[in-house]
């Protein structure tokens, strides 16, 4: 049975492998030097237009449930960005063709000072907000002042990307300078500016609402679509912005964004029955069905989410021993864990750095390591030895395993992990499933021994998540892990501007995390999208996450 599941897992990884291979080639090219890396990743040219595109039509897009509020900056979920982004622009953006290359948006070009401490953006003239107001650098300044230093009661998860931004200066109405207190890698900073979350909003809008837009629906943007109507938890309808600065775009006249629960049969049914043109976050069963349908394209791509297993070092003495944590890390058969949830959510195996990041250990190498091998025997043997050496050869009893509710993946994994730990290490735990909001409350309070959840990052760059996932007293470091060697190295990685040196340092950091696990990476999530072939202009196969390319300005419909 186990062999059969593993072989299924192997066969299902072909697409992933070929994709990683492509990334590997890209990574090798990047390794040739910073200049090589930079040139394909940035393109300061007019945004692409498809000569074959036909204007008109309506795009019916299904994505996530309704947003909990309307403040995109304060949000951390695709519920906001998926529905609202078409109404806004950013300073710079990721090219929808590959999801990676940074291209101009409201800034038509940018300069980075040689010392890396000043980023200047040259802004387009004649851009107007949907309410008719002119767009100027003051709007960018107000937007970024809020993101970098949020007012009281405003929580912006991406503020940490801009911790080195000191002054934001407006030399003239169409130029803005970000002066950094300390240089950061160019790719990191530009990636932060290009994040789809950092939409530009009007200064007046922020002033009128005391910097809090949570309950302000459809505040004016400069984006390709304008708000028409919204039915809570049902649909958000937008129309083409006829005054859009990027003449000729968007192609479609109308956008209907339907709020449907991710991974739900309801979303799958809506797509398969033809009630949607494009569906994001499909469940694997509907996605496989869609893939078999004629006239439909289905893509799977990487998501900026890690599925994590925590061991509370502050509460359980055994977990303070690095050997026990390493043993638990090794006792998990990741290939089985990925297979267990294959009908619930698509997952891939990875270590402590995004497995598809250019600096992470390549998959082939990773799978030779204990804990990642297809045959777990050697890893389990080593795990048993470690437990014995740590004085826990008889196992550990009565651990409280806190499971995040709401998603079937966590339930399935919890049962599988409980069995693996019992069978391999004689570690016994009692499962306790709680609602998502309670999970984070209890985890933050340290009321758990073992825990399972998913956490996210804004960027693929490790400097973003090294601090929030593994940092000392970091927001997602629920296990209370510390390792001075790692923390010091992570600080240096943040500052290192040479890509090659940085890559070496990231590998060193990986090694530390492997030997002294702060948490256990169970798997990395992937996203299933599908669309009817009448939809052109967007293929997310190479995208990272669902938060950067979300505007639909370059999408066109064949039947129109």
């Amino acid at each position: 049975m186990a062999d059969r599941t593993r072989s299924k897992s192997r066969s299902s990884s072909v697409t992933r492998r070929s994709f990683l291979k492509t990334l590997g080639i890209a990574g090798a090219a990047a390794g040739a030097g910073p200049a090589v890396l930079r040139s394909p990743a940035e393109a300061q040219e007019t945004p692409f237009r498809d000569p074959a595109a036909k204007p008109g039509g309506t795009l019916r897009y299904g994505v996530h449930t309704a947003p909990a509020h309307f403040d995109v900056h304060q949000s951390g979920t695709v519920a906001n960005i998926g529905a609202q982004s078409p109404m806004y622009d950013t300073l710079i953006r990721r090219d929808p063709r590959d999801g990676q290359t940074i291209i101009p948006d409201l800034a038509f070009k940018w300069d980075v000072a040689p010392d890396g401490k000043k980023y200047t953006f040259h802004l387009r003239k004649g851009v107007k907000f949907h309410d008719g107001a002119d767009f100027t650098a003051e709007d960018v300044k107000a937007t970024y002042e809020r993101i970098v230093r949020p007012p009281k009661g405003v929580v912006i998860p991406r503020s940490s990307l801009f911790t080195t931004v000191g002054e934001i200066v407006v030399p003239d109405p169409h130029r803005i300078e970000f002066r950094l207190t300390e240089a950061r890698p160019r790719a990191f900073m530009l990636g932060a500016f290009a994040s789809g979350w950092n939409i530009i909003v009007r200064k007046k809008t922020l002033d009128d609402n005391q910097g809090n837009l949570r309950q302000v629906m459809a505040y004016p943007g400069t984006g390709p679509f304008r708000h028409v109507s919204r039915r809570d938890k049902e649909v958000w309808i937008m129309e083409r912005n006829p005054n859009y600065w990027n003449k000729g775009l968007p192609y479609v006249d109308k956008l209907e964004i339907y709020h449907l629960l991710p991974f739900s049969p309801e979303l799958g049914a809506a797509f398969l029955s033809g009630k949607l043109d494009y569906a994001r976050l499909l469940d694997p069963i509907s996605w496989r069905k869609a893939k078999e349908m004629p006239g439909v394209t289905a893509a799977v791509f990487n998501q900026s989410v890690i599925q994590t297993f925590y061991m509370n070092q502050k509460k359980v003495k055994a977990f303070q021993d690095v050997r026990v944590r390493r043993a638990i890390h090794l006792a998990m058969d990741r290939h089985v864990l990925v297979d267990v949830v294959k009908d619930t959510a698509p997952m891939q195996i990875g270590g402590f750095v995004y497995p598809f990041h250019e600096a992470s250990t390549p998959k082939a190498e990773l799978e030779k390591r204990l804990g990642y091998q297809k045959d777990p025997k050697a890893a389990i043997q080593e795990a048993k030895k470690l437990m014995q050496a740590a004085g826990y050869g008889q196992g550990i009893k009565g651990l409280d395993f806190l499971i995040r509710g709401g998603a079937n993946t966590f339930k399935l994994w919890a049962v599988a992990i409980q069995a693996m730990l019992k069978e391999h290490l004689n570690v016994e735990c009692n499962l306790r499933e709680v609602q998502i909001s309670q999970w984070f409350e209890e985890a933050a309070a340290g009321n758990f021994d073992l825990g399972i959840t998913a956490i996210v990052s804004a960027l693929m760059d490790p400097s973003d998540y090294f601090s929030s996932w593994y940092g000392k007293d970091a927001p997602n470091n629920y296990g209370g892990w510390t390792n001075e060697q790692f923390h010091s190295l992570a600080r240096n990685i943040e500052r290192e501007v040479d890509d090659n040196k940085r890559k070496t340092m990231i590998r060193q950091a990986e090694d530390i995390l492997e030997s002294d696990p702060p948490l256990i990476p169970v798997a990395y999530e992937q996203i299933c999208d599908a669309w009817y072939n009448r939809v052109h202009g967007q293929n997310p196969s190479k995208y990272f996450g669902i938060y950067d390319v979300v505007r639909w300005d370059q999408v066109w419909m064949a039947q129109s």
Partner: protein
């Protein structure tokens, strides 16, 4: 009669106040933080204690419990019913938009339960212990036992995979497009109606079996009335009283069952809104919807009690 109604109204009011207190206290005792849904996991993790205090104040959750309760009662009195924590929409608007769909489902389910349950019950009672009775009794047990949401999912999947069909994905009101509206409500109504119909069938069968043995039924037969007239005109009206009583109770089950069944069918009614609000810890929405359901349940039961006198002139209000 007036005295009776006043007494029942006061009793209903007392029940609703009790329900409101229980919901109010339970929702505030239950663990779970609405800020996780508002800010998302990442934002919640990075929230400073000072920001938390501001957010809780803005939501009105930092006030004392009596102040929060009085504010809720004031919102009910003004008809506003408060605002959702999340998008600032009023609960009144939510109920006005989604309520008609759920009401249609409940009414249609009740009609289906009678249309299916009553004839089946009569058939079963007039031919007791025959093969038809056995089949009908087995089916009624089956429909009682099968969970509505599971049956709903099966129906959705069967329609999708066999016919590529899915009901509309947004609310279409009866007055906007009756046909699309019908497509939205028919699935949940059938599933809920069949389950309730099974209860109606069992109840009407047992009541009818009891009444059929009464002296006045024998007298009717002795007068030479045909069997159909005996059952329909003499036995059935008297057997219906307990069936009507159980229908009131069943409406409660329909309301409760609609929460899961609307979710299974993906129908955006009040039941589904309640599920989402519970997941999001949107206390204001949950407490108002639960109270609304309780209010409907109490009202229906009062109406059922009142209908007794109309159906059986021997019963007098005291």
């Amino acid at each position: 009669m007036q005295k009776y109604l006043l007494r029942r109204a006061l009793f209903a009011l007392g029940t609703l106040i009790g329900v409101s207190l229980i919901i109010f206290v339970v929702l505030r005792i239950l663990p779970g933080d609405p800020l996780v849904a508002i800010l998302g996991v990442e934002g919640h993790a990075k929230m400073a204690p000072a920001d938390r205090a501001v957010l809780m104040r803005d939501l009105g959750l930092s006030d004392s419990l009596p102040v929060q309760y009085v504010r809720w009662m004031r919102d009910i009195a003004t008809g506003e019913l408060g605002k959702s924590f999340f998008r600032g929409d009023t609960v009144r608007d939510l109920i006005l938009h989604r309520g008609p769909l759920s009401a249609e489902i409940a009414i249609l389910a009740l009609i289906i339960s009678w249309l299916v349950g009553l004839p089946v019950g009569i058939l079963s009672a007039t031919r007791p212990n025959g093969w038809a009775d056995a089949v009908v009794r087995s089916l009624s047990v089956l429909f009682i036992a099968v969970p509505g949401f599971w049956l709903g999912l099966l129906i959705v999947l069967a329609l999708l995979f066999w016919f590529g069909y899915k009901a509309p994905i947004i609310i279409v009101q009866l007055w906007e497009n009756p046909w699309q509206n019908f497509q939205l409500i028919i699935g949940p109504a059938v599933v809920l109606g069949l389950a309730q119909g099974a209860y109606i069938a069992r109840m009407s069968r047992s009541c009818l079996l009891e009444v059929i043995r009464e002296d006045y039924v024998r007298t009717a037969r002795a007068k030479g009335a045909v069997e159909r007239a005996v059952v329909m005109h003499h036995a059935l009206p008297n057997a219906l009283l307990p069936v009507i009583t159980i229908s009131g109770v069943l409406l409660g089950f329909v309301l409760g069952g609609s929460v899961a069944v609307e979710q299974a069918f993906g129908v955006p009614g009040l039941g589904r809104a309640l599920v989402v609000a519970i997941v999001e810890r949107d206390i204001v929405v949950v407490q108002n919807l639960v109270l609304l359901y309780a209010g409907i349940f109490v009202l229906v039961n009062v109406l059922v009690d009142m209908s007794y006198a109309w159906l059986d002139p021997r019963i007098r209000y005291q």
